[in-house]
C-alpha cells in the first residue's frame, strides 16, 4: 500500500521586495521559501492513514523543483514520509501547472500509488489546478477541496467530504487509485522538531530528471505550457475619498463626481 503526496516549495515575500530584471517574477533574493501550507495538511493526512493502518503503508513525497526544494522534502521526511523524490531539469523552468501535472502523472505511473494527495492550491501562485490536472493525465477519479477523509489502507474506495459554497458539504465515495486535493484545516499538522529535520538530512532524496520519468523536454517548460507569465508588477494604488457632510451635501457631491466621470462637467 502506497500513498504519493505531491508537495511544493512555495515562496513568501520578504519586506521591501523588488521585481527581478526580467519583470516576470520577484527577485529571488527577496523570497522566503517554505513548504506550501496546504501540502502540510495533505502530508499529515497521509501519515495519519499510515499510522492507523494494520499493514505497512509507504508514504512517498514528490516535488518538482531545483535543489533548494530538498529543504521541504527533508521537512516531510522529518514528519513521517518514508521516501522523497525530486524531479528537476533545467527545461522544467517556466512550466505552467498543466506541464507540472504532466510530470507528476509520469511519476505517479512509475510509483503506482493507491492514492495521490495534493494540496488544494499553492500559497504563492494559487492556480489550484495542478492536482486536478494530474488526475486528468492519469485518467483517475478525483476529488477537490477535501475537508475530511475516511480511508483505511487496503480498501478499494475512500469516502470523503468536500467543501461547497454556503457551508454545504458533499459526501463522496471514490474508487482508488484516486487523486484528492486536500483543504487546509482538515487536520492539525504535526510539529517537525529541528532535531528530526536534522536527522532527516541524512536520508537520501531520490533525484530524477525528465528522462528518468519518461518525459521529453518539449512537453514541459515554456514549450510545453499553454499559458505564460508575461509580467509581474505592483499595480498603482487606487484612490479613495471619504465624502463628509450632511446627507444632502454628500448626495450633491456624489452627483457632481458622477457627472464629472461621465464627462458632463
Amino acid at each position: 500500500m502506497k500513498i504519493l503526496v505531491a508537495v511544493k516549495q512555495v515562496a513568501a515575500l520578504d519586506e521591501d521586495f523588488v521585481i527581478g530584471a526580467d519583470g516576470r517574477d520577484v527577485d529571488a533574493e527577496f523570497l522566503i521559501r517554505d513548504l506550501n501550507e496546504w501540502d502540510d495538511f495533505s502530508l499529515e493526512e497521509a501519515v495519519r492513514i499510515k499510522e492507523a493502518a494494520a499493514d505497512p503503508v509507504e508514504v512517498v513525497v514528490v516535488s518538482i523543483g531545483p535543489e533548494e526544494a530538498d529543504e521541504v522534502l527533508r521537512k516531510c521526511l522529518a514528519k513521517g514520509a518514508d521516501r522523497a523524490v525530486r524531479i528537476w531539469d533545467e527545461a522544467v523552468a517556466g512550466s505552467d501547472p498543466i506541464a507540472i501535472a504532466r510530470i507528476l502523472a509520469a511519476v505517479a505511473r512509475q510509483e503506482a500509488p493507491d492514492m495521490l494527495l495534493a494540496g488544494v492550491q499553492s500559497s504563492d501562485h494559487g492556480f489550484a489546478s495542478t492536482g486536478i490536472a494530474t488526475a486528468g493525465f492519469l485518467g483517475w477519479p478525483h476529488g477537490a477541496v477535501v475537508a475530511s477523509l475516511a480511508y483505511t489502507s487496503g480498501e478499494k474506495s475512500a469516502v470523503f467530504r468536500r467543501e461547497l459554497e454556503g457551508g454545504l458539504l458533499h459526501q463522496v465515495t471514490i474508487q482508488c487509485p484516486a487523486v484528492l486535493t486536500i483543504q487546509a484545516g482538515i487536520n492539525t499538522p504535526r510539529y517537525a522538531s529541528l532535531r528530526s529535520i536534522k536527522q532527516a538530512a541524512a536520508k537520501p532524496i531520490d533525484v530524477r530528471n525528465l528522462a528518468d520519468v519518461g518525459i521529453s523536454a518539449h512537453e514541459v517548460g515554456e514549450q510545453g505550457s499553454l499559458s505564460h507569465v508575461r509580467r509581474m508588477y505592483i499595480p498603482d494604488k487606487g484612490h479613495a475619498q471619504l465624502i463628509e457632510g450632511s446627507a444632502a451635501e454628500q448626495a450633491k457631491r456624489l452627483a457632481g463626481i458622477i457627472r464629472a466621470f461621465k464627462g458632463e462637467a
Binding site: D16, D34, R190, Y191, S193, L194, R195
Partner: protein
Amino acid sequence: MSHIDAVTRILFEEFATAEIRFFYVIGYAAIAVFFYGVYVQVRKYRRGAALRLDGSPWARVLDMVGSVLSHRTIARRDTGAGAAHRLIFYGFVLLFLGTSTITLQYDILDPLFGIRFWQGDFYLVFSLVLDMAGVMLIGGLLYMMARRGWMKLPKLDYARPDRVPGDPDFERPQYRREDWAFLWMLIIIGVTGYILEAARLVWLQDRPLVWQTRWWSPVGAELAEALRTAGLSAATAGTLRHGLWWFHGLIALALIALIPWTKVKHIFTAAASLLVRDPLAAQRLPRIPESQAEPGVAKITDFTWKQLLNLDACTKCGRCHEACPARAVGAPLSPRDVILSLREFANAALEKNVLPDAVELGVHGKAPGQVTMETLWSCRTCMACVEICPVAVEHIPIIVQMRRKLVEEGSMEPLLQKTLQTIHKTGNSFGESRRKRGAWSKALPFAVKDARKEAVDVLWFVGDYASFDPRNQSVTQIFATLLHEAGVDFGILFDGESNAGNDVRRVGEEGLYEVLAEANISALHQAKFNSVVTTDPHSFNTIRNEYPDFGGKFEIQHYTTLLRQLFDKGRLRMARKLDYRVTFHDPCHLGRFNKGYEAPRELLALLGCELVEMGRSRANSFCCGAGGGRIWIPDPVGSEKPAQNRMREAAAIDGLEVYVVSCPKDLTMFEDALKTTGNEGKFVVKELIELVREAVSHELVPA
C-alpha cells in the same frame, strides 16, 4: 581508680545474658534492614542514566559540609524552620554520636584492646552535653509540630494544584501521617530517654557514685526528683527502667531500620544532593548526549542518577511551592509536586527487584506518579524553585528535559508550535524579515555601525524584543543614543543576529536552539569587538552561560553594569536628579540567574530615585510570567497572570511613581498588567534606560 573515675554509664546492669543476646540480635537485624534499604535505594539511583560530574570533588565536599553545618540553605526565608531544624540536627547528631561511642567502647575498643574512655570526667561532661542535646532535639521537634498542628502553614499543605479533589493522589494524607509519625517517634525517643535516665537515678539512688554526680544530667536529675516526690520507690524505678530501656531501645533501632525506607532518609539524600549540586543548573541546561536516540525524558530511567537522587532529597518543605509564580496564579503546577510525583513513580517502579518493562516506565500522563503536559507547560523556568530549595533539588532541568519529549512528539500549544516554526524560518519570534532587525536604527540622527563590516569596541547584542517590538524599539533607540553620546564605539550585527535561543532552549526545542546558538556564535566570531553588551537579560544568560558549551566564549555584560561604568568614568553625566519614588523589579535572568542585583540599584541611587523594595525582591523576585517560552503561550482567560499579581504587589507601595524594569519582556508584560489591573494613571512602568536618559546631560562626550 579514684572515686570519680569509676563513674560510668550503667548499661546492661541486671540484664540476663539471654536478654542481652536478644537485644544484639534485634540490633543486628535493624542494621541489616538498614543496609538492605541502602542497597535498594542505591540500586534505584543506578537505574537512572549515566552522568559525569565536573568540578573538584573537594570543593563539592566543602560546600556541602558548609551548608549542612551552617544550615544556611534551610534558614533562608524561614528563620524559624532554620533554627528549629538546627536544634534537631545538632541534638540528633550529638545523641547519635554519644550512643555510637558507647557502642564503640563497649563492643569494639574494650573487648579488643581494653580501651575504656566512657568514664570519669569525660563521662560526666558527655552526660551533660547529651542531656542538653536532648533538650535541643525535643525543642526543635515541638516547634515543627506547632508548624504542622497550629500554624497550618500553607506551604505544608500537600493538596496539589495539578490534581483535582477526588484524584487518588490529590491530598496525599500518607505524607501527613508520615510527618507526624516521624516527629512523634523522635519525640518519644527523646522523652523516654529522659524518663529512663530519671528512673535509673531513682533506682540507684543509694549508690553514691551515681547519685552524687546526677546533676551532670540536669534534666534527668530534675525528673528523678519529681518521681521521688511522687513516691516512686527504688524497686519500682528499677522495673520501670527495665521496661523503658527496652521500649526506648526498640524504637531507636526501628528508626535506624526505617531510615532508607521513609522520609528519614533525607539525612543522607539531602546531603548527597547538596554534594552533587550544579550551581548553574537553571542557567546552563544540559545538552542532549550524542548517544541518546530520543531527546528528553520519556521514561523514569531516562532521568540521570543524580536527578533520581534529587527526587529522594526533597523534604516537602514547600518553599518552591510557595515561591512558584505559576502556582501563585493557580496554574496546575507546583515544583514540589512535580518532584514528589516523580519520586512516587520512581519508588514504585525502581525499588522492585526486577526492572519493569519500558512501557510501564512512562512518566508523561495523568496516572498517579505521572506528570501532565499542562503542568510542564505551566513552568516559566524562572528559577525561583531551584534557587530556594534547601536541598539542591534542580527542578528546571527535570522540567525542560520532560518538555523536550513533548516537543519531539509535538504535544504543545498550536501558537507555540507556530512561533517555533517562525523562529526557524525568520530567526526571530515576530515573524519579521531578518532585514528589518536593525531597522530601528534608521530613525537615529547618527549611523549605528555594522559590526560585521568594521571593528568596534563594544558589540551590542540587541535581542528580538528590543529589535522588533515597537514599544521596546524606542528604548533601544534611547540606549543607542546614550552609547553614542557617551562616546562608546559600538556596533550591532543587523540581520546577522538571530534570536539568542534562551527561551527556545527552555521550551525544550533543543534542535532549534542549536541552530540559533551556532548561527549567532558564527556571526559573533566573524565580527571584531572587545566585549559584548546586551539589553536583554535572556540573551545575556544564554550567551554568558550556554554559548561556551557550543564553542562561543565571549565577555558579556548586561547594560546596567555598562551604564554604571560609564557614569564612573564620567562619560555619562547627571544633568538633573530624579526624585521619583520607585520600585525595582529584578528580571529572573538578570537577578536570580546571574546575580545582577546591584548595578540597577546603584544606578537608581545615582539618578537620585528613592527606591522602595517590594516584599519579593532580589533572589525572591516574582517572575513576570514570560519566561520559559510562556510569552508565546496564551495564559488561560479569566485567571490572574503573574504580571498582574506583581502589579498588585507594587501598587501597595505608598506614593509609588515608577515601576522600574530592565528587561524588554518585562516592559511588555508589565505595561499590559498595569492596564489590566486598573493601575494606569497611578504609576508608570519604565525601563531603567529611560530614567537614565531623563537624568543625564545630552552633550556629546568626546570619545
